[in-house]
């Protein structure tokens, strides 16, 4: 079993156990057991289920979220609700003495819900910041099943939908759009020399640099292997070539440091670009033309 997710929020897990023990201890000191005939089993089952579900929510929150304000608020809110649920459940099994203690059951849940509402607000803020970072990597539509795990960009299938979308805009009289394909020079040799993990890191770095070099209206996706593809809506060939040139210059200046060494390594990209003004052209011939043009650039460079 992997311990890492548990170690991240170690103190919160301990707090949860402590909270449960304290809640049970308080109940034990202030109550007596109900006679079996007095227990409403269906009600106990329902309230037990609520307690369990709240516990599962807490576990999922701790297992999936990083440390931070939103996590703390969510944890605090859910824990308070959990204590209320637990007392409510135990109330079915025991009778509180003095009896008025029963009235306090719902107080933690009330506080918990307030905390959760505050966390929802901060969560929304957090999400808006993420949306900001996704600006050049996503357009109009979110579908995380189409992302490439290594670079965090959308895959070529997502690009296909977007190209179709742009083509339908062509039909409405929009000006042509451009597709640019970037390819990392000598990636195979880099991969051989530095291994898979380091080459994945290079892919991520180049993806970041490409996305920095694009306009907000452009969309960058992972093509395959060491290739990336950008769609420039309403852009002519000359403009797109200028963007690609600037991006290539930017990447060529980036110093990449090997582990434990201070010698910088430089990587370069080459690119090919096509302007699309045919609204009926299929996606596959388009990308085949892009790859073909790129291969010709490669041959010319060699």
């Amino acid at each position: 079993m992997k311990l890492q997710p548990f170690l991240l929020h170690q103190s919160r897990w301990l707090l949860l156990v402590l909270l449960t023990l304290v809640a049970i201890t308080i109940t034990a000191y202030t109550s007596i057991l109900r006679p079996l005939s007095d227990i409403n089993w269906l009600d106990s089952l329902g309230e037990g289920g609520l307690t369990l579900m709240t516990l599962i929510w807490i576990a999922v929150t701790l297992l999936t979220r990083p440390k931070g304000l939103v996590t703390n608020l969510l944890f605090a809110g859910l824990s308070a609700m959990y204590v209320s649920m637990l007392w409510d459940f135990l109330d079915e099994m025991v009778v509180f003495t003095p009896h008025y203690l029963t009235s306090f059951e719902a107080i933690p849940a009330c506080f918990g819900m307030v905390l959760m509402s505050i966390s929802a607000y901060y969560w929304y803020k957090e999400q808006s910041i993420f949306n900001q970072t996704l600006m050049k990597k996503e357009r109009f539509y979110r579908d995380h099943s189409m992302t490439d795990f290594v670079t965090g960009l959308y895959s070529v299938e997502y690009m296909q939908n977007q190209v179709r979308h742009e083509q339908s805009r062509l039909a409405n009289g929009n000006s042509p759009f451009c597709l640019t394909l970037f390819d990392i020079c000598d990636f195979a040799a880099y991969s051989r020399q530095h291994g898979m993990q380091k080459s994945n890191q290079l892919l991520r770095d180049i993806a970041d640099m490409l996305s920095l070099s694009m306009r907000e209206s452009d969309l960058l996706c992972r093509f395959a292997a060491d290739k990336f593809v950008v769609v420039h809506p309403q852009t002519n060939h000359v403009q797109a070539q200028a963007f690609a040139n600037r991006a290539a210059e930017f990447i060529a200046r980036h110093a990449n440091y090997d582990d434990g060494e201070n010698q910088p390594q430089y990587s370069a990209v080459r690119w090919s670009c096509i302007e699309v003004d045919d609204k009926h052209c299929e996606f596959e011939p388009l990308i085949a033309a892009l790859v073909n043009e790129l291969n010709q650039t490669k041959v010319a460079a060699a």
């Binding site: 195979a188 991969s191 898979m196 395959a224 292997a225 596959e284 085949a288 291969n295």
Partner: protein, 330 residues
């Protein structure tokens, strides 16, 4: 003559299990998901001499392909094998003077290096066809595709590295997949789909293409240094079927040292039948005669020792779904 079966633990986990698990974990898929049903644990894979069976390999690969984030892993895995497994045999392979010699070495010792497929070489006056047949067991279609993609990527990487001038054509035994971007990016050689076998086709001139920086005199020594070959079950069967084309399954069973019933059971375990494998070999040869050599039906029927042409035509239809004359037209 030794051979191993799909349940024999013959494949080194450091080449055939560990990298697949690692590549998946780099794409956010936990090792337990990839190893599910293989009766292997992640910690087992790290123990050095661990070997796995073909069945376990197939389970691992099937689990991998079901993950959407791992679609390109087959190609990356091919490159990984190039940098590890193939480079492990660098002294032998990299020193072959030209492609012709490399091919000879592969025909002799290929199964020691990559045990999944064995190669059958068919040659005309102008071109050389290398047909790949499964060497251990008949694979599931998805696993076959994974292995073909890995081999294609391996082949491209090797040629780019050691013999960049060589051009050849890859033929894939399945219809064109949706992820065509992967093929466009990873495969720089010509390729086509919808073939009967995974095949590599090159002109006879390409065979003379030299590799970079070779010391050919090292090859012979390295060839001797390799242990005697360990063939998979199907590779052994194909070998015997080619050597004794007239033998029945009972006779082949006897040569392989088992009873006819055991032989039949083992064939079933390897997802095939005796006739199926015999048909495969006949089909490869017949299609080659018809498509590449331009033989007439009479000539093919005679060459394959059929009693008459009608029988041959019927058999050809059974193997390929097409009559020989229709096959010639397309």
């Amino acid at each position: 003559m030794s051979y191993f079966e799909c349940q024999t633990k013959q494949l080194a986990s450091r080449y055939f299990a560990l990298p697949i698990v690692e590549l998946a974990s780099q794409r956010g898929v936990h090792a337990d998901v990839i190893l599910k049903g293989s009766k292997l644990f992640y910690t087992d894979l790290h123990a050095n001499p661990t070997r796995i069976s073909y069945e376990q390999f197939e389970t691992i690969v099937s689990n991998l392909i079901s993950q959407t984030s791992c679609q390109e892993v087959s190609f990356i895995y091919g490159q990984y094998l190039l940098n590890t497994l193939i480079s492990h045999h660098a002294e032998l392979l990299f020193n072959c003077h030209n492609i012709q010699q490399l091919l000879k070495v592969l025909l002799l010792k290929g199964l020691d290096i990559l045990p999944f497929y064995h190669i059958r070489k068919l040659q005309t006056e102008t071109s050389c066809h290398l047909l790949f047949s499964p060497a251990i067991a008949e694979g599931k279609p998805a696993v076959t595709r994974f292995l073909c993609e890995a081999m294609a990527s391996l082949c491209c990487g090797y040629l780019k590295w050691r013999s960049p001038e060589t051009t050849l054509t890859l033929q894939f035994p399945y219809t064109k997949p949706k992820q065509v971007a992967q093929y466009l990016s990873h495969i720089h050689l010509a390729y086509s789909f919808d073939h009967s076998d995974f095949a590599v086709v090159m002109s006879n001139q390409a065979l003379a293409q030299q590799q970079i920086g070779t010391f050919p005199y090292l090859v012979a020594r390295q060839l001797k240094a390799l242990p005697p070959p360990q063939r998979g079950f199907l590779a052994q069967l194909h070998r015997l079927q080619l050597k004794y084309p007239k033998y029945h399954s009972e006779q082949i069973a006897e040569i392989m040292g088992m009873s006819a019933a055991t032989f039949k059971r083992k064939l079933k375990l390897h997802q095939t039948t005796f006739i199926n494998e015999k048909d495969r070999l006949h089909r490869q040869q017949a299609m080659f005669y018809v498509a590449e050599q331009g033989y007439s039906n009479e000539q093919v029927a005679t060459a394959l020792q059929f009693s008459d042409i009608t029988n041959f035509r019927r058999a050809f239809k059974r193997w390929t779904g097409l009559t020989p004359s229709y096959f010639r037209k397309i």
